[in-house]
């Protein structure tokens, strides 16, 4: 197959055009925004966290097909997952989800949503420690 058609296969384009869990979540426990200055991709992650698990997740964002499709797939994947499992996720997991290989530059696009999610979890954990609350 043409390598471009492989990179932009139907599943990726489908998630890009019709992203899953694509909304602002007012009742989120933590909301975190990240930006890739290289290409201007933005991701906002909204997480609801309960008993050490991701109870619900949504995202908003702007950017290339790879960054937005990977965010959409990631939200499907991590819903219900334990925080420590999400924190353990690596680029291999993202590439497996996308079903493609990527150059180092495009890998940054693909990783933006996972990086944003991990940082959101850290922020939430810090907040919980500070307020001595075991809710997370």
């Amino acid at each position: 197959m043409d390598p471009m058609e492989q990179m932009y296969h139907e599943n990726i384009l489908d998630h890009f055009k019709h992203p899953h869990n694509h909304k602002e979540m007012k009742e989120a426990d933590v909301h975190h925004h990240e930006y890739n200055p290289l290409c201007g991709d933005t991701i906002d992650m909204f997480l609801k966290i309960k008993n050490g698990k991701i109870e619900d997740v949504s995202f908003m964002g702007k950017g290339c097909a790879i960054s937005q499709a990977s965010a959409s797939m990631l939200t499907n994947d991590i819903k219900g997952k334990a925080l420590k499992d999400v924190e353990g996720m690596q680029k291999e997991n993202i590439l497996e989800m996308l079903g493609i290989t990527l150059s180092p530059v495009r890998l940054k696009c693909a990783m933006l949503s996972l990086d944003t999610t991990k940082n959101a979890i850290h922020i939430h954990q810090k907040y919980m420690q500070k307020h001595n609350n075991k809710g997370g």
């Binding site: 043409d2 390598p3 471009m4 058609e5 990179m7 932009y8 384009l13 290289l38 290409c39 201007g40 991709d41 933005t42 702007k62 950017g63 290339c64 097909a65 790879i66 495009r106 696009c109």
Partner: protein, 403 residues
Amino acid sequence: MFNVERIKKDFPILKKKVRGKKLVYLDNAATTQKPFQVIEAMNSYYREHNANVHRAIHQLSEEATQLYEKAHEDAANFVGAAGMEEIVFTKNTTESLNLVAYSLVPTLKRGDEIVLTQMEHHSNFVPWQQLAKRHGITLKFIEINNNGKLSDKSIEKNITKKTKIVAVAHVSNSLGTINDVRKIAKIAHENNALCVVDGAQSVPHMKVDVKKLDVDFLAFSGHKMLGPTGIGVLYGKKELLEEMGPFLFGGGMIKEVGWKDTTFIDAPWKFEAGTPNIAEAAGLSAAIRYLEKIGMENIEKQEKKLVDYTLKKLSGMKGVVGYGPKKKAGVFSFNVDGVHAHDVSAILDSEGVAIRGGHHCTMPLMSLLGVSGTSRASISVYNDEKDIDALCGGIEKVKKVFG
């Protein structure tokens, strides 16, 4: 007669295949490719003349010094400066502009104003913004109108007796707009302000004459005009460079050093501390010779034809939005409906077509246009209609993949 086919043959990299396709290089506003004459000049410097400049009394050092000073003269002649005392070598346009910004600080006081435009590259924006923050200077911006040109009204309104410096791009690296810097410099001077011009996108493409334009400073880069990376130029009026203090301190720029104080030599050398980029200076000389052999007027004429051809083709494409004025330099910013600039670049890359996608170091301008970025194709002396056809073919593929 302008012979693009022959020019192409001078650029070894254009024979390269990328992604199994013939390379079509249209990212010239970022950096240009180098003809073998430039590569050879640098090669020959290292093989035959390498020594430090302005130091030793041995033959190689004399050769290196001669070649390095000659490069200053070549650059001076190229932009119509009086001589090499008006030409400082830096590493790029950004460093040239930082040099001006830092060295002019002692002439500024709290409440003074610096006027920029809304279309500046970060290199002619962030240095002034940070200087303004540190020293209590007010920054003002000349606005652009809907077709990406500077508003005359806004020029008149913003440049006043409070203005000390007007810093403006000659050609916009995002929109291709050609600004009337001669007029802006005149208005600046009427208000006793200095005019600093970012010539990175104009000097490689048209005849630029600093005396005719009557600008006070002109900054440009070797690597955007077929020369090597690591060498930039700052033209400054002699009397201004004489008054200004050094930017960097160290070897090569001193007259006499004592325990308590140091005196400095004259411009340009007082602005060139440390061992400079000598091979790159030799490369820049060769690039200037190459451009002059073709003739800057010929280049301007040829590129104008290609600009018209490109605009006609792009404006005929459905779902493609272009930015910037119709009368412009060879920089084409566009977006394909519903497709991010990065995806456009990636698909064009698969066709061997190299363009740039993103904010082009003009984030404030992008926010003004209401986009996160654009795709940008930009031409040089070795581009022709076939390259533009390949670009348009690539855009059709983008539309097909995302259709």
